[in-house]
Amino acid sequence: MQRTAVQGAPGLLSAVTGRWSEGAPAQTGTHPFRKSLAELRIGDQLVTAARPVTQEDVEHFAHFTGDTFYAHMDSDAARANPFFDDRVAHGYLIASFAAGLFVDPAPGPVLANYGVDHMRFLAPVYFGDTLQVRLTCKEINPRANADHGEVRWDCQVTKQDGTVAAQYDVLTMVAKTWGQAAQAAE
C-alpha cells in the first residue's frame, strides 16, 4: 500500500479518514449513548456536568479498592514526591468518575465497554478540583457479520481551569439498530 501524509483542516481530514480528530466539527444533542449505529455519527459529542473531587472521595476509593498508595493518603509524603504538591486523586478514580459522568444508565444501544486505549493521566487532581468530561464519537467500525460494531470515543477529562487531567479512548460495542421494534423482539 502507499503511505501518504495528508495535511488539512481537521474537519476535512475527518471526511477523508472517517475518524474524528481534535479540531474537527462536533455536534451535541441527544446523548450519543442513546444512538444505535444507524443514527450515530462521527463527531457526536457529549459535554457532561462537572463534579468536585473531595478528600472523602479519595479515602473512600483508597480503602474500598485497597489502593492506599502514599500519594493519595499522606500529605507530607506526597509533597516529597517530585510530581505532586499535595495528596492527589487516583488516576483510576478520575477514570471512574469520568464514566459516572458520561454514561447514560438505562438499557440502550451501547452494549458493552470492552476496554480503553492510550490512557494517560496528564495533570494531578487535588482535593477540591472539579472534573468535567468531553466524550466524542471518534471512529465507527460496523462488523460485517454481527448486529453490532465497535465504536471508539475520544474521552477528555478536564479540570475547572481547562487543564486536561486525563485523555484516552473508550472502546464500546454498539448495536446496529435499537428502538421499539428491537426491544419488542427480545
Binding site: M1, A5, V6, P10, V16, N141, A144
Partner: protein, 500 residues
C-alpha cells in the same frame, strides 16, 4: 501411489481464461520415480495484457471491498481449499514431499491465508483506507493537522516463486496482497508448478475471488517485467543471482517499482556455551539440526546450513548428529514411515552435489555420502543427509557463502559468544538463526549480536521445548525475510505484510 494421472499439459490462467503455451514445452518429472508428470510452457502469452487485465478488472473490484470484506473472502477461500487438501497431498508426493513435508506446504499455506483472514477482521477497520499513526497537529488552534493514510496501489502484485513450497509460496504472498486490495499474478518455479496450477484451479473453481484478482503463469514470464509500472509490485523468492538480475531490470529501475526479495540464506543454529552434553538444550539442538536437515530434504530457505558449536563439544555434537541422520535414509515420499523424500529433481541433486564439492575445499564430510543412491530408487533424486565439518571456521569462506539447497549442513567450532556472533554475521544476512541456551546472559549477548543480521532469531531452551514452533517455521505474524544476502525484503510480519 503416484502412478495415477496421465501427464498433464499445464496452462496459465490469463485474463480469466486457462491458456496453454504455443509449444508443448518442458517435461516435468516425478522427483521420486522420474515418471513424466506434466509439460510446462507459457510461450505466446501476452504478458502486457495480463498486467492490464489485473489492473483494470481485478484492482477496481478488490478496492471496492472493505478490509473486512476481503478478509471474509480469504476465509471463504481458505476453507474451500482446506476441503480439497487431499487432492493437493496426492500431487505433492510427486514433488518429493512426504506427508509431513506436504503438511508444511499445504496446510501451512492455507493456515497462513486463514490467519490473515482472521487478523484482517480483528486488526483492520471495516474501511477501504487505513490511517497510520495518530493525527499530527500542525497548528496551535487545531485548524491545520496531518494524518498518514495507506491506500492500495493500483497495479498488480507479481509474485515469482521458488520450487520448494508450491502451495505455501503462493498463499503466503497472495493473502496479504489481496487483503491490501491488490490483484496478483503468480509465477511458480517450473519444477513443481503442477501443484501450484492445481491449487489455482481449485481457487478459480470456487468463484470466490473477483475476476482478475488472481492470474497464473505456468512457464517463463517472458517480457512481463518490461511492462511493470510504479504502481505494480514485484516479489521474488529464489537464488540471490536471479534476484539481483530481476532487481536491476530496466523497467523496475526506471519506474522505481517496489521489489521485495527473499534469497539464499546461510542460516545458523548456535549451541550455547552453557549447553554441554547432558543438558536438555544439547538434546534439543541436535534434534532441531537433524530435523531442519531432513525436513523437505533440506530444501527450505530457512533450513540450518551452519551448525555452530563450542569447540569443547563439537565431537559430542558430531557423534549425536551422525547417529540421528543415519536413521533418516531417504525413501518414497508416499510410503509409510519415510522420514525424508528426494530432492525436487535430478538437476537439483546435481546442483547440490556441486555445492558440496565447493564446501569440501574448506570442510570435510563427517557423515553421509552425496553420491550414494538407495537401491531400487535409481530413477529419483534421492540423496542421504550430508554433514560436513570445517575446523577453521573464520577462514572457511565457502561455508558462509555457498548454499547447498538440500540435506546438507556444516559443523563449525567456535570459541566464545563474540566469535559465534562474528561467524553468523559472515553469512552476510540471514532469514533466521537459532540459539540453544538456558543462560540469560548468553541469550542477551547472542541476540544483540545476531539481530542486525537476521529477520528472525529463535531462542530454544527446556522451557519452550514442547511449545516452540521451531527454527524453520515462518509464521504469519512474524517477519519472514532478512537483510543483505537474504534479499533485504520483508514478508508476513502480520499487518506489516499488508501495509507494505
Amino acid at each position: 501411489m503416484t502412478m495415477n494421472a496421465a501427464p498433464r499439459r499445464l496452462e496459465s490462467l490469463i485474463c480469466g481464461r486457462w491458456t496453454p503455451g504455443e509449444r508443448q514445452g518442458v517435461p516435468l518429472l516425478d522427483a521420486a520415480t522420474g515418471a513424466l508428470v506434466a509439460h510446462i510452457d507459457a510461450s505466446g502469452i501476452d504478458m502486457g495484457a495480463a498486467l492490464d487485465w489485473g489492473r483494470r478488472t481485478g484492482g477496481p473490484a478488490l478496492r471496492a471491498m472493505s478490509f473486512h470484506d476481503r478478509a471474509a473472502m480469504l476465509k471463504a477461500l481458505g476453507l474451500a481449499l482446506m476441503a480439497r487438501k487431499e487432492e493437493f497431498y496426492t500431487e505433492s508426493y510427486r514433488t518429493g514431499a512426504t506427508r509431513a513435508d506436504g503438511w508444511v506446504d499445504i496446510e501451512g499455506g492455507i493456515g497462513t491465508m486463514l490467519t490473515y483472514a482472521s487478523k484482517g477482521r480483528r486488526e483492520l477497520p471495516n474501511t477501504r483506507l487505513l490511517t497510520d499513526g495518530d493525527l499530527e497537529p500542525l497548528s496551535k488552534d487545531h485548524s491545520f493537522s496531518a494524518q498518514h493514510i495507506l491506500t492500495p496501489l493500483q497495479g498488480v502484485a507479481v509474485h515469482i516463486n521458488a520450487h520448494n513450497f508450491p502451495v505455501w509460496g503462493v498463499l503466503e504472498k497472495i493473502a496479504p496482497a489481496l487483503l491490501a486490495g491488490m490483484p496478483c499474478i503468480v509465477k511458480p518455479a517450473s519444477q513443481t508448478a503442477y501443484l501450484t496450477e492445481l491449487v489455482v484451479r481449485a481457487t478459480n473453481d470456487t468463484g470466490i475471488l473477483p475476476a482478475g484478482a488472481l492470474q497464473l503463469i505456468c512457464g517463463s514470464v517472458g517480457d512481463l517485467l518490461d511492462h511493470v509500472t510504479g504502481q505494480d509490485v514485484v516479489t521474488f523468492t529464489g537464488s540471490a543471482w536471479t534476484g539481483r538480475t530481476l532487481r536491476s531490470h530496466k523497467a523496475i529501475v526506471e519506474n522505481s517499482t517496489r521489489f521485495t526479495m527473499e534469497a539464499d540464506s546461510l542460516n545458523a543454529s548456535i549451541l550455547g556455551p552453557d549447553a554441554g552434553p547432558g543438558t536438555p538444550e544439547f538434546d534439543l539442538f541436535v534434534r532441531e539440526v537433524a530435523r531442519e536437515m531432513t525436513s523437505k530434504a533440506g530444501q527450505k530457505c530457512t533450513a540450518i546450513r551452519r551448525v555452530m558449536v563450542p569447540a569443547a563439544h563439537i565431537d559430542a555434537v558430531q557423534d549425536a548428529l551422525a547417529l540421528r541422520l543415519a536413521g533418516a535414509t531417504p525413501g518414497l515420499p508416499a510410503a509409510e514411515g519415510t522420514r525424508m523424500g528426494p530432492l525436487a529433481s535430478l538437476d537439483q541433486r546435481e546442483e547440490v552435489r556441486a555445492r558440496i564439492r565447493e564446501l569440501q575445499a574448506v570442510a570435510h564430510i563427517v557423515a553421509g555420502d552425496p553420491d550414494a543412491v538407495p537401491e531400487g530408487l535409481e530413477g529419483g533424486a534421492f540423496m542421504a543427509p550430508v554433514l560436513l565439518r570445517a575446523d577453521d571456521p573464520m577462514n572457511a569462506v565457502a561455508v558462509h557463502d555457498c548454499e547447498a539447497f538440500g540435506p546438507v549442513a556444516t559443523l563449525l567450532p567456535y570459541d566464545g559468544v563474540d566469535q559465534a556472533v562474528a561467524l553468523a554475521a559472515m553469512g552476510k544476512g540471514s532469514l533466521v538463526s537459532s540459539v540453544f541456551t538456558d543462560d540469560a546472559r548468553v541469550a542477551e549477548e547472542m541476540v544483540l549480536g545476531l539481530a542486525p543480521f537476521h529477520g528472525r532469531v529463535m531462542i530454544g531452551n527446556r522451557v519452550s521445548a514442547k511449545s516452540s514452533t521451531g527454527h524453520g517455521s515462518p509464521l504469519a505474524g512474524l517477519v519472514h525475510g532478512g537483510p543483505g544476502r537474504a534479499g533485504g525484503g520483508e514478508e508476513l510480519g502480520g499487518m506489516r505484510g499488508v501495509k507494505h
